[in-house]
Symmetry: C2
């Protein structure tokens, strides 16, 4: 009885957890990546994280240097049948058309308004730039943030019929959470617009605005009605793709990543730059080979090229030679989205 | 006795601290800003931090939004008699001169090599740009980092005869530490070069590279001898001064600061942008009025204008009207540098 009273007293003061035998916890470790099938890809992630976080290990890396960078389109969320930001731009053209009667006669807008993407795309990079300038500039940063939020609240993915913010890869959400639980700072490093991703990245990925790196247009500080604002200008500032990714990483972070995650040729230089660091590093590419549950595409699989998602045979070869992890969505992931049980 | 045994038991299990009476701790609070004299400036900082960190207070701000931005030159470290980075550039001209015999005939280098800053400066912005391109570009980012570190290890401030990294303001170091202890993320937002500050900001200020924002030149990703590097190009990328400061803050952080600290007209827009946020904000300017212990300069004091440190009478008026804290180094600071007892 005396012992029982002591235990009760100690428990009341210290809280229940103190007296739970520690061995019980150690014997039933929680799987940090439950949506991943057992296999080489999952093992490579857990082995690497265990190694760099183990005090005394020769591969140990201090918390301050645990930087992990993630491409967004096709790595964290679905980029097919068209990139989400392009869908946003097309919807904005429709919404803004009444204020722009001249668009009926002007490309790429005339074709876009008829739903003819192919003719619109014939204008090449210049047409795409015109489309983005018409839909992404002229307003303040605060106004643009609201436009993005409003659109995301109503837009749906054409195949999955869910908001885009639910078309994010559950296995990658688990990697993000697992890394943060191990002291990593997780960053997005995307070709997409920095101001297009920030309004929702914190809620959806747990990645705060200051850890989002992306392409950008120039902005200008000015006073409007006595209020200090930043106005979005019709001028490119930075393209955060291919060789731009290491440049963006250096500009924003100032350190080489310890881990980098991508899915296409646009991520090649980010992975090379990561691997070029002094200590052991981890590089991963997601291969879209799951036509049933998501999409299958890219020349690496002998499938048609899709500009944004080009995973070329050469990149596949480089990944094998350099020891990068390649994830088969079909074989390595138990489920793609959180809604799939 | 029974009570004593219970207390001993509980203490043994939970650790001593649990039973230390809380009032004792509360009665002897540690002064978070010991190098500040009691007065309105010190009080304004502590009052603001107490308010925004007190759970339940109407001014409470979540940790994620506790962003504080600090100018560097003249706000965190000494910028007189010439800015530190200019001293660095001049020393680099001397070090590189043997490889550039043509500099003997070419301005601004010819005058600089004779120690004639006045004639060199007559070339205006173009001369300054030439000086910076000649001394700050052409190498990789890693090489530049080493050049900066080597220089700082040997260079000394002409008046204080100490390394520049010891000519940092002790009262501001205390503010940085106090804010971080209260959940703030502290950032540098400086007109100085981002890559000039990062090599030492973590050690000297406790500010990691990813929280340093500054002016920059463009870089290019390339493979050199099979290694992925970033090469510093002779082309300006961004000037992080005046209206550029809010732009840089938005680019890197994506949130408005909660607190902003500066010392000149170059910080005006950063303070305006900070104050333009929705909730209560805190803005502070350091006034250099201490000729004995540091320097006294600036038109606000009726003293000569010094380009980098211009604290104009108009800015002084604006600070008073807008409720910004103005710090008199002479009256508000017990000591300027940690070496002054």
């Amino acid at each position: 009885m005396k012992m029982l009273r002591r235990i009760l007293l100690a428990t009341a003061i210290c809280g229940i957890a103190v007296l739970v035998p520690r061995r019980t916890i150690a014997q039933t470790p929680t799987d940090p990546l439950p949506s991943w099938n057992e296999g080489a890809a999952k093992k490579s992630i857990i082995d690497f994280v265990s190694k760099v976080t183990k005090a005394g290990d020769k591969n140990f890396v201090p918390v301050a240097e645990r930087i992990a960078t993630f491409d967004n389109d096709g790595t964290l969320w679905c980029e097919q049948p068209i990139p989400v930001q392009l869908h946003f731009a097309l919807d904005r053209v429709k919404a803004l058309a009444p204020q722009h009667p001249e668009w009926k006669e002007r490309e790429p807008f005339a074709s876009l308004l008829k739903g003819d993407l192919k003719t619109a795309a014939a204008g090449g990079d210049r047409a795409i730039l015109e489309l983005f300038i018409a839909t992404h500039t002229g307003m303040t940063t605060i106004e643009f943030e609201q436009i993005v939020k409003d659109w995301l609240a109503s837009a749906k993915h054409p195949k999955f019929e869910k908001p885009y913010t639910e078309c994010v890869y559950q296995p990658m959400l688990e990697v993000l959470a697992y890394l943060r639980a191990n002291g990593f700072k997780t960053y997005i490093v995307s070709g997409g617009g920095i101001e297009f991703m920030r309004p929702w990245a914190e809620q959806v990925y747990g990645i705060p605005p200051e850890q989002v790196i992306g392409s950008s247009i120039k902005t200008r500080f000015e006073m409007r009605d006595g209020k200090p604002v930043l106005v979005r200008l019709p001028e490119l500032n930075f393209i955060d793709d291919k060789g731009g990714k290491p440049v963006g990483i250096n500009q924003h972070i100032g350190r080489r990543p310890l881990m980098a995650f991508g899915n296409s040729d646009g991520d090649k230089q980010m992975l090379e730059y990561t691997q070029g660091g002094a200590a052991g590093r981890f590089m991963l590419l997601v291969l879209h080979d799951d036509a049933a549950r998501e999409y299958a595409y890219g020349p690496a699989l002998g499938l048609p090229d899709v500009k944004l998602g080009a995973f070329t045979p050469a990149l596949y070869e480089q990944a094998k030679t350099a020891g990068w992890t390649v994830v088969s969505m079909k074989n390595d992931w138990k489920r793609i989205f959180s809604s799939q049980k």
